[in-house]
């Protein structure tokens, strides 16, 4: 009797521990982004079983690097470029969605540690900026081009699953996108998952990109010759076309 009691206590403990340690299951679609000649943009869907406790934060992050920016200033009556602006590194893409107010889900220290929200980006960008407001301006420029966004209620729960959708900007660079999902409990990150989504050119688009980068003179000659031949063919078919 006593043995049977101990057995069931053990089973319950194991089940509880198993539930607590259940890894965060995340599915990212599409698993890779192929930019062929008919590529027309993509919506990234992040889904999975919703955890019983805690709230989720989903981040789609591009590679970290420093990008060149130019300051616009007044020269006489005109608004013209007035030199480069040194800013620190930041992800080429930063799209964040959370189940609620990010500031209430995670403490400031935790957000900084995981690189979540505005503050860590401001810090990184501001590290190279001569003037603090220029880091803000960089974020505004990226926000306008769809490369930076924060959505406090962008993660939805329905029928025991969670989902977050991200419309990726049309000008999407080749490389790796990191899709990070954070499970937040009591102001801290209890668990996290990371999925890599490669962005690659394929088919004819890949061939033309590689030719333009690796053999630019040959590519340029080929492009000019192709236009010349097509134009001559059109001239032969439509003799009336003057083309000026």
């Amino acid at each position: 009797m006593r043995r049977a009691g101990l057995f069931w206590i053990g089973v319950c403990l194991a089940a509880a521990l198993g539930a607590a340690a259940r890894p965060l299951r995340v599915e990212v679609r599409p698993g890779q982004i192929a930019q062929g000649l008919l590529y027309g943009g993509v919506r990234l869907e992040v889904t999975g079983p919703a955890p019983d406790e805690g709230a989720l934060v989903v981040l789609v992050e591009g590679e970290w690097r420093s990008e060149a920016h130019v300051r616009l200033g007044r020269t006489g009556p005109f608004w013209l470029p007035q030199g480069g602006v040194p800013v620190g590194e930041a992800p080429t893409l930063y799209l964040l969605a959370s189940e609620g107010d990010l500031h209430q889900l995670l403490t400031g220290e935790e957000r900084r540690r995981e690189g979540l929200g505005l503050a860590p980006l401001r810090e990184s960008l501001g590290a190279g900026a001569a003037v603090a407001h220029e880091a803000e301006e960089v974020l505004r420029v990226r926000s306008r081009s769809g490369r930076f966004s924060l959505a406090d209620h962008g993660v939805e729960r329905r029928n025991g699953t969670f989902s977050a959708g991200f419309d990726l900007p049309p000008r999407l660079e080749e490389g790796i996108l990191n899709v990070k999902v954070f499970l937040c409990r009591e102001g801290r990150v209890a668990e996290k998952s990371e999925t890599r989504v490669p962005v690659r050119r394929t088919g004819l688009a890949a061939f033309l990109t590689a030719a333009a980068r690796q053999a630019p003179a040959l590519y340029g000659t080929g492009a000019a010759l192709l236009a010349l031949l097509l134009g001559a063919a059109v001239g032969a078919v439509f003799p009336r076309l003057q083309g000026h």
Binding site: P81, A212, A227, G231
Partner: protein
């Protein structure tokens, strides 16, 4: 239907690109002016960077001018000697322009320079087209009188040479300089330069109209060819997919424009078009004066 532009690095509606080429071709067929100066701003408005727009437009000009050169070759309307001198200048100007584009692109000033150039040239072209009726009458009177000597300052320049096909004697420096300017325009603005070259050859070099269009197209074709190769090699900004879409559109558009043009009065159309160009020029000028939405632009540092 969407198509991905590999060098521009973004997807775009295929029919929108073809329509842009079609509009330029239509204007070319209707008014007899090149559509390059309309195409580059259109491509920029569609979201393509100014550098890629100008370079890809130049690539398309190779195709559109090739068909014209073929037609003029058949009729013997090309002064090859003059064409080669203009071409030498065009290649020099194109090479200089391409490297200048690289420097300006690195410093982040290229977009502003392109906008300034468009403000100036759309304005000039608008005014020129507006008074073109008057200039055409003067040209006709001079052709009736027979051979008209070149302006005095051109006769005073060194390296005088004869061009028997055109029946003129002029300093080699004049067509070289004209060609160089056309090469610069091709590199910076992605235009063929016919709108500038044809009046210059007619009124400055006093070439007969019979050979002016064919010779200018010959020079534009090979200058655009050279600038395309240079832009691809130095700046890596030629998108062949953009160029091919524009060519398809402009081929159809030019046929439609020519058909419509035969039924309408050219003079009135040119006045309306001149007003449109002046409006575009003023709009772009106003943009330079208006407070920008952000005080930073992305750019500079690219290869």
């Amino acid at each position: 239907m969407t198509i991905f532009l590999p060098v521009a690095g973004l997807p775009m509606n295929l029919w929108l690109l073809v329509a842009a080429g079609g509009l330029a071709g239509f204007l070319s067929g209707l008014l007899g002016v090149g559509g390059g100066f309309i195409l580059t701003p259109l491509l920029i408005m569609l979201g393509i960077s100014p550098a890629v727009a100008a370079a890809s437009d130049t690539n398309a000009i190779v195709g559109t001018s090739a068909s014209g050169v073929l037609a003029h070759l058949r009729q013997g309307n090309v002064d090859f000697r003059m064409g080669l001198v203009l071409l030498a200048g065009g290649l020099l100007g194109g090479a200089g322009g391409t490297f200048w584009v690289r420097i300006l692109r690195r410093s982040g000033n290229l977009d502003a320079v392109i906008v300034f150039l468009y403000v100036a040239f759309l304005g000039i072209l608008g005014v020129v087209m507006f008074v073109e009726g008057l200039l055409a009458r003067i040209r006709d009177r001079e052709e009736e009188k027979g051979t008209v000597p070149t302006p005095g300052f051109l006769r005073a320049l060194p390296f005088q040479a004869s061009f028997p096909e055109s029946g003129i004697r002029v300093s080699l420096l004049a067509p070289l300089a004209l060609g160089a300017l056309v090469g610069l325009l091709a590199a910076f603005m992605g235009v063929g330069g016919g709108f500038f070259l044809v009046p210059a050859m007619t009124f400055l070099l006093r070439m007969p109209m019979r050979v002016v269009v064919g010779t200018s197209l010959f020079q534009i074709l090979f200058t655009a060819f050279g600038v395309t190769v240079l832009q691809a090699s130095v700046n890596r900004t030629v998108d062949v997919v953009v160029a091919l879409c524009l060519m398809v559109g402009s081929t159809v558009g030019a046929q439609a424009g020519a058909a419509v043009g035969r039924r309408l009065k050219g003079t009135e159309l040119r006045v309306v078009f001149a007003l449109l160009l002046l409006f575009l020029s003023l709009k772009m000028f106003d943009d330079l004066l208006t407070l920008p939405a952000t005080f930073l632009t992305q750019g500079g540092g690219h290869p």
